[in-house]
Point group: D2
Chain length 282, copies 4
Amino acid sequence: MLVEHPFKRASLEYVGGKYSEVIISTPNGIVPIGRNHPIVVVAGPCSVESKTMIVETAQQVKASGAKFLRGGAYKPRTSPYAFQGYGESALELLSIAKEETGLGIITEVMDASDLDKIKEVADVIQVGARNMQNFSLLKKVGSQEKPILLKRGIAATINEWLMAAEYILAAGNPNVILCERGIRTFDTKYTRNTLDLSVIPVLRSLTHLPIMVDPSHGTGRADYVPSMAAAAVVAGTDSLMIEVHPNPAKALSDGIQSLTPVKFDNLMHKILIISQTVHRLV
Amino acid sequence: MLVEHPFKRASLEYVGGKYSEVIISTPNGIVPIGRNHPIVVVAGPCSVESKTMIVETAQQVKASGAKFLRGGAYKPRTSPYAFQGYGESALELLSIAKEETGLGIITEVMDASDLDKIKEVADVIQVGARNMQNFSLLKKVGSQEKPILLKRGIAATINEWLMAAEYILAAGNPNVILCERGIRTFDTKYTRNTLDLSVIPVLRSLTHLPIMVDPSHGTGRADYVPSMAAAAVVAGTDSLMIEVHPNPAKALSDGIQSLTPVKFDNLMHKILIISQTVHRLV
Amino acid sequence: MLVEHPFKRASLEYVGGKYSEVIISTPNGIVPIGRNHPIVVVAGPCSVESKTMIVETAQQVKASGAKFLRGGAYKPRTSPYAFQGYGESALELLSIAKEETGLGIITEVMDASDLDKIKEVADVIQVGARNMQNFSLLKKVGSQEKPILLKRGIAATINEWLMAAEYILAAGNPNVILCERGIRTFDTKYTRNTLDLSVIPVLRSLTHLPIMVDPSHGTGRADYVPSMAAAAVVAGTDSLMIEVHPNPAKALSDGIQSLTPVKFDNLMHKILIISQTVHRLV
Amino acid sequence: MLVEHPFKRASLEYVGGKYSEVIISTPNGIVPIGRNHPIVVVAGPCSVESKTMIVETAQQVKASGAKFLRGGAYKPRTSPYAFQGYGESALELLSIAKEETGLGIITEVMDASDLDKIKEVADVIQVGARNMQNFSLLKKVGSQEKPILLKRGIAATINEWLMAAEYILAAGNPNVILCERGIRTFDTKYTRNTLDLSVIPVLRSLTHLPIMVDPSHGTGRADYVPSMAAAAVVAGTDSLMIEVHPNPAKALSDGIQSLTPVKFDNLMHKILIISQTVHRLV
């Protein structure tokens, strides 16, 4: 599954040459993510809540064109008293959803001791924003072969983010996707974070690594997701991560930023039009 | 030139109803800016530097489709020893460029005592980011009839920005355009500011006032302007402000963020495609 | 009243030599503010509300050891519908309070056209945080002779702040006091701003200009003012600005950050002990 | 070593009652840290570099009055190519320094699998700013008995910080010290971070947990450490962490923010005067 990596000290010292791609095997076939490929959409709920919920969501997002299902088994929550995810049993439900739909699976690792279990089901392993500088974890996900989705820390500079990627690359794993998910600024009244879309052209000029944008965490409000998703596509992102929940009002976590499957389907039609007419235009 | 204003305490208490538009008379005809109109592009140099420079730039941006010429006569510079703009003589050059091209003129006021001179040539008067909470100036531009372009302060919350607009509206001038131009965050290595495109859907849900985005100040780097301009259009902005300079390397101010006329023309072709296929799509 | 100024391009290029002092004539005598003098305390309400209120407050803060009375006549308020200050009639009340107590007067200018009226009563003229980069105003206060209290903008870098001071110095007025009043960061739940006390040693290493700290705006909460005021003294500030209101719960503005006269008196006793034992110690 | 804990959901729901203390056994005797005790100083180098270096530094900081030696064995570094600490062999050197001086030892854990080794020498285990929301690690240090020094994340709100402490408390370990070490803001030209001393009164009003301030990381510059250390004492901190290196210019990490032993000794004399005259005064 590893793509041969043409760069030394890859994340930071890239100054030209080829863009790299992360090529992922899913039951439905090979999916490449990168500068020279069509946009790839990852969708699904913040947390895996039940078998019905995750399987039906998977079927719906697949029908709308998503290639990957996201779903949290281990959840990083600010409060220890908040829902922490269903852990191992959630991984089993993701496995069932994968079998039913053939979608690739992306889920987060919070503790290196869970890596083996997660690798059994996940096609891409997410390192979350809060762990972007958990260097022990970065070294460990770097010394195994599954592709890594590395979310930007909430106050991480672009240099720090690329250096976090470098930990993974330096440990031997060249398959890193960089995911912008909003940064912390002085204004949090209307948006949870400030989605920094300028990272798209900035990263393009600095690194060969593929780019993903998560407008769901980036804005924290379902109403703002479609316009920011569309903007990210036009600005040149290689992939999108969108939260979709069958019933956002009853979600165990992050319902306020989740699209319904119907709204997601609507967005996917628009993204299709946009990506056919203007993706890679600018 | 005033549009009848259907709202009370308009900027903040809008919860539905009609979007307002700012209708501007230019020698080339009426140009409306607002939710129900095609995108309008304002272009030109940071500072007015000479007659040849401003007239030729005006002709070029007009040929590419811009409706307004921007150009600074009075420049807010961090250092008192930096070029402060050519003032009154720059206003005269803007007047010549207007005559030659029929473009509308947008220029900044820094001191209320310059308002009368500026109004003779400007069709829209800009209040810059540093003066967004210069309440004396807001009251004065609110008590005259020219439309106002109100740039967001570098660390202004959306509420503070709308309240600044409210000062103008409350003083009797309903014609305010809100211009996002990047906010200050913790990372300034690659971009001068962080362009906050999420304000587009946020403002749409809060206010009827028209929206402009300035990706030139927003990113501070010419290379990043095209993708952010395109993203802003898809996200739904009503207008764009783009810095264009015939020779950015020799600009008296802000050359690093200015497009050449050729690059601007190229961008305008792409914006045309984007706005025809996907503007107002999301 | 002007002190001879030993520096060229004074604010920024200082790399040694003498610290400057601002020497202010008040009815009670000369008050110098600077590195080689005892700490000076400015106190009073956010806004001048009535004759009784301002005169009694002046008497109380004088009895506690304050050398200057602060009080707003022209108030920069986020909303145009909030109390805007009593303007000229507030200046008259400040004049009465000055006559009654002999305290020096500090009040803010928001509009250059008010300068002449303000100069009749004020011994120090304040340029507020929102106008720190109102360069027209800076040039005007720089071309008159009253000392200027220049508050740091809410997101101003130290360089920008010193450059704002430079506008005043370059216009001919060497008497500038730099006032830290809190910056805007990501956390505003418990404090209105983040008081940046590290500017004290930083400014000491960069500029000869005297330093003031305003823990009232800096924290936005009366409970936090005493510890931050004391910390500022130990860190080496030359002066303090403290909001005091006879009845904070009924203040027309900023009551939540105002000390009662009794609490202010208590704080002044502690500041006396601190400044006698440890001011200039570190 | 555990202090009986009088609070439920201790970190956040405290609204009165007793302050808690963390009582630490060191070879030199019991050292309590908390609101009702004298200030405690932790000192030492960023990284443990050699036996001579760490033992001599320990002897010097002990002679100056420090009760704990800090020293990094496992170092969280932005770049994977930077010095990562000497790991286990550094722990052995800390053990020797402890034996030679009787000082308590504070060192950082980055990976839960190192906990057992670290616990053999450390009297207090540090969780660093980058791991403040590494919830797996928080749960693990919460389920063992050594006291924890919890550094504030670089962009952590006070609520998030207290909730991180809550993870440790909820797992059964009541001995948490909260350490402010500077936050990330828009200005990093003169200071590495912005030391937020207002957390001292804020935390006092919210939580019973003891407070430490680290002006070395907080400012990033040795010159600014003394004034900020002194300010923290006057503002009421319970303890300080100060970086001391025998030869800062040759330090393997963070030399620029380290005091020499002589400068540290000088600072300790001043802190003694300050704490005797004005600590707990305000």
